[in-house]
C-alpha cells in the first residue's frame, strides 16, 4: 500500500530546502509560553493565595473535607472504569470493521462514529428522553408488561458509565482503527506460520504493535472522563465527582476552593500521563519496516459467523442510532403534547421552519464551522511541529515536560481555560508581550485550538511511534532532503492517525459550549450558544432541530473526509 516513491525526478523544491531545525522549536516554544504557561500560571498562583498571602491553606482546607476526598475517588474510579469499558467496546469494533468483510460493513463502520456527532446539550437530553425513567424505552416496557412505575431510573454509577462509554468509546474505535491500518501483516503471518495460534498472535504480535494507539486512546478517555461535567450533573444522581464540586464551589462563590480543586483535578489527569508514559517506554514496537502490505480484510463467509456478525452489527448500530433518532423525534414533536405517551402524539415542522426562516441561524453554523476548521487546521500543523521537536535525539526530560505541558489545556475544565485566556489577554502589558484577544473574533478559535490540539498531537504521536526510524534513515541515505523525506516517507505513514485526530478535534470543537459561553462575541456566536439559548427559552424542540442540522452537517463532512481518505489510500 505504501510504496516508496519511484519517481526519478527530484522535485526542484528539495534542492534548496531551508533548515527546518529552528522553526518547529520556535513555534512550539511560543505557543506553549503564550497559550499554556502564561495564562495558567495565575490559576496556580490563585490556588496558593489566601487571606494571609502565600500559603497552602486552600489545599489544607480542601483536602480535609471528606466530601472532596470522596469526589476525588469517585472521579478516578469513574474514569478508570470508563477507560476499561470504552476499550472493551471500541477495540473489538475496530477489529471487526477493519479486519473482516461482511455485508453492510461500511454502513456499520460509519455508524460506529455516530456518538461523536451527538450535539452538545441536546444530545444528553435526547439520551434522557430515550433511556430515562419517563423515556421511550421505559414507557415501552411499561406498556408491554403493564407496569405501574418505570422499571428503571437513569441515575447513579451505571447510568454515568453507560453514558460515558457511549460518548467516549470513539476515541478507542478511531485510534485503534487508524493503528490497525498501519500494521504490517507480515509479522502476524510470520508468527502464524511458525505455529502460533490466533490468540497468541493477537496477544504477542498485533496488540503490542497497537500499544501506542491504545495508550493514546486510554489517555484521552481518562482525561475526558475526569473533566466530564454534564454527564455527572444529569445522570450522576448521588455520585459526586470533582468537576461537580468545582461547579458548586464556583456557584457558591468560593473562588479559592474552586481554583484549588481545579489544580488538583488537573494534577490527577496529568499524572495519568506519567503512568502511561512509563508503560509506553517498556513496550515500544516499531511496525517493522512495513515491507509487506497491511492485512487484507478477511471475508466472513461461514453462514453462522456471517449471521452473527450482521446481527451484532445491527443490534449495536441500533443502540448507537436510537439517541440520534430520539433527537430527531424531539425536534418534530409538538410542544406540550408528549407527556405520558410512549411516542409523541402529534408532530410539527415548526421548529425547522423557525430555523430556516431566521437568517441569523445560518450565521451560527457558518461561525462554528469556520472557527472549528481554523482551530483543527492549526492543530494539525502544530502537531507536526511538536512531532518534529520530539523526533530530535536526546533531551528526554525536556520532552517529558513538553508532552506534559501540551496536555494541560485538555486536563483543565473548559471554563478554566476560557477564564484564564480572558484574564491574560484582556489587557496589554508590553512587558510580557501580551496582546488583546478579548472581544475579538479570534479568541474562540484560539481557545478551541488550545483545548483540542492535544487530541491531534496524541493521535499523531501514536502514529509516529509505530513508525520505523529505519525508513527515514534509508531515505536519508538515498539522498532525500528533509522535505522530501517528510512528504514522501513520513507523511503517508502517519497521515491516517493525524487525520483521525484532526477530524475528532474539528467535530468536538463544533459543539464546544462551556468555554465558548464565557468568551464569544456577537460576530462569532457559535451554534452551541444558539442551542443553549433556545433551551433557556424552553424551546426544546427548536434546540433539538439545531442539533439535528448540526449533525447533518457533521455527517456530510465526515463522509467527504472518509471518501477522500479512502480514494487516497
Amino acid at each position: 500500500m505504501y510504496e516508496l516513491p519511484t519517481s526519478q525526478f527530484p522535485s526542484p523544491r528539495s534542492r534548496f530546502s531551508p533548515s527546518p531545525r529552528l522553526l518547529p522549536w520556535l513555534i512550539v516554544g511560543v505557543v506553549l509560553l503564550y497559550g499554556v504557561l502564561y495564562p495558567n500560571l495565575h490559576v496556580v498562583i490563585a490556588s496558593l493565595q489566601s487571606d494571609a498571602g502565600w500559603s497552602l491553606a486552600n489545599y489544607r482546607q480542601v483536602l480535609s473535607q471528606s466530601i472532596v476526598l470522596e469526589s476525588i475517588f469517585a472521579s478516578v474510579g469513574v474514569s478508570i472504569l470508563t477507560v476499561l469499558f470504552c476499550a472493551a467496546v471500541g477495540v473489538p469494533l475496530a477489529f471487526l470493521f477493519e479486519r473482516y468483510a461482511f455485508p453492510a460493513r461500511r454502513l456499520f463502520a460509519t455508524l460506529a462514529a455516530l456518538p461523536l456527532v451527538l450535539p452538545p446539550l441536546v444530545g444528553t437530553i435526547a439520551f434522557i428522553f430515550l433511556f430515562g425513567e419517563s423515556g421511550i424505552l421505559a414507557r415501552f416496557a411499561q406498556s408491554i408488561f403493564g407496569l405501574e412505575n418505570s422499571p428503571w431510573s437513569l441515575r447513579g454509577w451505571p447510568a454515568l458509565l453507560f453514558f460515558h462509554t457511549y460518548t467516549m468509546y470513539p476515541f478507542f474505535y478511531m485510534l485503534t482503527g487508524a493503528g490497525l491500518r498501519r500494521i504490517d501483516a507480515s509479522l502476524a503471518e510470520a508468527a502464524q506460520s511458525l505455529g502460533a495460534g490466533r490468540l497468541r498472535v493477537l496477544a504477542r504480535v498485533v496488540l503490542p504493535q497497537l500499544t501506542p494507539s491504545l495508550i493514546a486512546a486510554a489517555l484521552l478517555t481518562f482525561m475526558t472522563s475526569m473533566a466530564s461535567f454534564s454527564a455527572p450533573l444529569l445522570f450522576g444522581g448521588s455520585v459526586r465527582v470533582l468537576t461537580l464540586e468545582i461547579y458548586t464551589a464556583r456557584q457558591r462563590g468560593d473562588a479559592g476552593v474552586a481554583v484549588t480543586e481545579t489544580v488538583i483535578l488537573a494534577l490527577i489527569s496529568l499524572s495519568a500521563l506519567v503512568v502511561f508514559q512509563r508503560y509506553e517506554g517498556t513496550r515500544k514496537f516499531a511496525a517493522s519496516a512495513l515491507k509487506g502490505a497491511t492485512k487484507k480484510r478477511q471475508a466472513i463467509t461461514g453462514g453462522r459467523a456471517r449471521a452473527l456478525a450482521i446481527a451484532g452489527g445491527v443490534i449495536f448500530s441500533l443502540i448507537l442510532v436510537l439517541p440520534v433518532a430520539t433527537l430527531v423525534l424531539v425536534s418534530f414533536a409538538s410542544e406540550g403534547q408528549w407527556t405520558v405517551q410512549t411516542l409523541p402524539p402529534s408532530y410539527t415542522v415548526a421548529n425547522y421552519a423557525k430555523i430556516f426562516s431566521d437568517p441569523r441561524a445560518s450565521e451560527v453554523f457558518l461561525n462554528s464551522l469556520s472557527m472549528s476548521a481554523i482551530a483543527a487546521g492549526a492543530a494539525l500543523v502544530w502537531s507536526f511541529c511538536v512531532a518534529a521537536v520530539m523526533a530530535r535525539k536526546g533531551g528526554r526530560n525536556w520532552k517529558r515536560v513538553l508532552s506534559w505541558l501540551i496536555l494541560v489545556p485538555w486536563a483543565l475544565p473548559g471554563t478554566v481555560v476560557a477564564v484564564s485566556i480572558a484574564e491574560a489577554y484582556g489587557q496589554t502589558s508590553p512587558l510580557l508581550g501580551s496582546f488583546i484577544l478579548v472581544g475579538t473574533f479570534w479568541i474562540l478559535p484560539v481557545v478551541y485550538f488550545l483545548r483540542f490540539m492535544p487530541l491531534v498531537v496524541r493521535a499523531l504521536q501514536a502514529s509516529m511511534e509505530q513508525l520505523d526510524a529505519a525508513l527515514e534513515e534509508a531515505a536519508s541515505s538515498l539522498g532525500a532532503r528533509w522535505w522530501r523525506r517528510l512528504t514522501r516517507v513520513t507523511l503517508p505513514l502517519v497521515w491516517p492517525g493525524a487525520v483521525a485526530g484532526t477530524l475528532l478535534a474539528f467535530v468536538i470543537a463544533l459543539g464546544e459550549y462551556v468555554a465558548s459561553v464565557l468568551i464569544f462575541v456577537p460576530n462569532n456566536r457559535p451554534v452551541s450558544i444558539a442551542i443553549a439559548s433556545e433551551l433557556r427559552e424552553f424551546n426544546l424542540g427548536t434546540a433539538a432541530a439545531y442539533g439535528v442540522v448540526l449533525m447533518l452537517i457533521i455527517g456530510i463532512i465526515m463522509m467527504v473526509a472518509t471518501r477522500l481518505e479512502r480514494s487516497r489510500a
Binding site: 466530601i67 434522557i128 430515562g132 469556520s370 459561553v517
Partner: protein, 346 residues
C-alpha cells in the same frame, strides 16, 4: 488524490478566513453591547423598537444565563466588553456591585420602585418581579389536592413525587431554600430548624434536576408531580406551550425576587447604555413585556389594568432579609450539599 485533499483543506481555511474578515467592517458611530438572559425574542423585539427611534445605533446582545454573565463580567474586568447588563436576580447584581463591576446610574423613574428593589448606591435597579410558587402537574393532581403551603410539600403522601431544580446555579431555588431557612432563622438565629425542613423535603424529593427545562419536562412526563418554581416561567409553559401545569401561592407567604438592570463599569458606550436602560423601562415597554413576555413590572406607577389579570393577583410577599440571605446562603447551601442532599431517605 493527496493533492486534492490538501487543496480542499486549504480551501476550507481560506474560506474560513474570508468569512471572518468579512465581518470586521468599519465601526458605526454609535454602538451598544448588552449581556442578557432575557431571550432572543424579547431582545430582538426591543432592539427593533429602539432602532426605529435611533436608527444610527448598532445594538448587539449576547444571550447567556445570569450566572454566566457574572463570571464573564468578572473575567473581563480589565477590559469590559459589555455596556449594559440586563437581567439577573438582585442578589447577583448586589454581588457584582460589591465587586465593583457596576457603575451607578439613577434612572428618571428611580422613585417609582420600592426601596427593596433598588441598590442604595444606584448601581442596579429592579425591572421585573419573580414570585416563587408551588407548581403541580394538573393532569395528575387535582387543584384541591395540591399543596397549599410550603409545609404541605413535606407531607409523606408526596414521597418520591417532588422534583426540585438543583439550587446551586438557580436564583429561584436559592431564594426558596434561603426563604425556608430564614423562616426559622429570624426567630432562632440558627439555621438548624431550616436544615430539618430541607431534610424532610429531601426525603420526598424524587430527583434534583439539572436545569429548569428538564424540571418542566419531567414534571409533565410525571417523573414527579409537584415542584417549586417561579411564576413567570410557569405562565410561559402554561399559556405558550400548553403544558398541563397549575400553581399555588403558598398561604404563609411568597418569596419575590427582583430582576434588575445595570450599567457595566468601564463600558465603552455608557451614554448609549443609559439611553437603552431608560427605553426598556418606560411604562409602555414594561406593559408590552408584561403582555407579550410574561415579565411582571416592578414600577408602581403603571396602569395595572393594562397588565394580564394574573399579574394583579394579590401576592402575600414574604418579608426576607436579602442581604443576610445572600451572605449566608453559600454556607447554607454548602451544608445542604454535603449533609442533606440525597441522604434523608429512610
Amino acid at each position: 488524490m493527496r493533492v486534492k485533499a490538501y487543496l480542499l483543506f486549504l480551501a476550507i481555511c481560506v474560506s474560513a478566513l474570508l468569512v471572518s474578515c468579512n465581518r470586521a467592517g468599519g465601526p458605526p458611530a454609535r454602538r451598544l453591547l448588552i449581556y442578557t438572559p432575557h431571550g432572543q425574542d424579547l431582545l430582538r423585539d426591543f432592539i427593533a423598537r429602539y432602532k426605529a427611534i435611533h436608527s444610527e445605533v448598532e445594538v448587539q446582545f449576547l444571550d447567556m444565563g445570569s450566572r454566566e454573565i457574572l463570571e464573564r463580567v468578572r473575567a473581563e474586568r480589565n477590559r469590559p466588553q459589555a455596556d449594559l447588563w440586563w437581567g439577573a436576580a438582585h442578589t447577583t447584581f448586589q454581588t457584582a456591585a460589591d465587586e465593583n463591576l457596576l457603575a451607578p446610574y439613577r434612572p428618571t423613574w428611580a422613585d417609582s420602585v420600592p426601596k427593596s428593589s433598588r441598590d442604595t448606591q444606584d448601581r442596579w435597579f429592579g425591572t421585573y418581579q419573580t414570585p416563587e410558587v408551588i407548581v403541580y402537574n394538573s393532569d395528575a393532581v387535582k387543584p384541591e389536592d395540591a399543596p397549599k403551603d410550603w409545609d404541605d410539600v413535606l407531607d409523606p403522601k408526596w414521597r418520591n413525587k417532588i422534583l426540585i431544580r438543583n439550587p446551586n446555579p438557580s436564583d429561584s431555588m436559592r431564594a426558596i431554600f434561603g426563604a425556608m431557612i430564614w423562616r426559622f432563622y429570624k426567630d432562632t438565629g440558627s439555621p438548624d430548624q431550616g436544615y430539618d425542613w430541607l431534610r424532610r423535603l429531601d426525603a420526598n424529593v424524587h430527583e434534583y434536576t439539572a436545569d429548569g427545562t428538564l424540571l418542566m419536562q419531567k414534571l409533565v412526563r410525571r417523573e414527579g408531580v409537584v415542584s417549586l418554581w417561579n411564576l413567570p416561567d410557569v405562565w410561559i409553559y402554561k399559556e405558550q406551550k400548553g403544558f398541563p401545569i397549575g400553581y399555588v401561592f403558598a398561604t404563609s407567604g411568597t418569596p419575590v425576587i427582583t430582576d434588575g438592570i445595570a450599567i457595566v463599569r468601564g463600558g465603552a458606550n455608557e451614554e448609549e447604555a443609559k439611553r437603552f436602560y431608560e427605553f426598556v423601562t418606560t411604562p409602555d415597554n414594561l406593559t408590552l413585556a408584561a403582555k407579550k413576555y410574561y415579565r411582571i413590572p416592578v414600577r408602581t406607577d403603571l396602569d395595572r389594568s393594562q397588565l394580564p389579570p394574573w399579574m394583579n393577583e394579590r401576592v402575600n410577599e414574604m418579608p426576607l432579609d436579602w442581604d443576610l440571605l445572600r451572605k449566608q446562603s453559600s454556607d447554607w447551601l454548602r451544608y445542604w450539599d454535603t449533609e442533606i442532599r440525597g441522604r434523608s431517605k429512610k
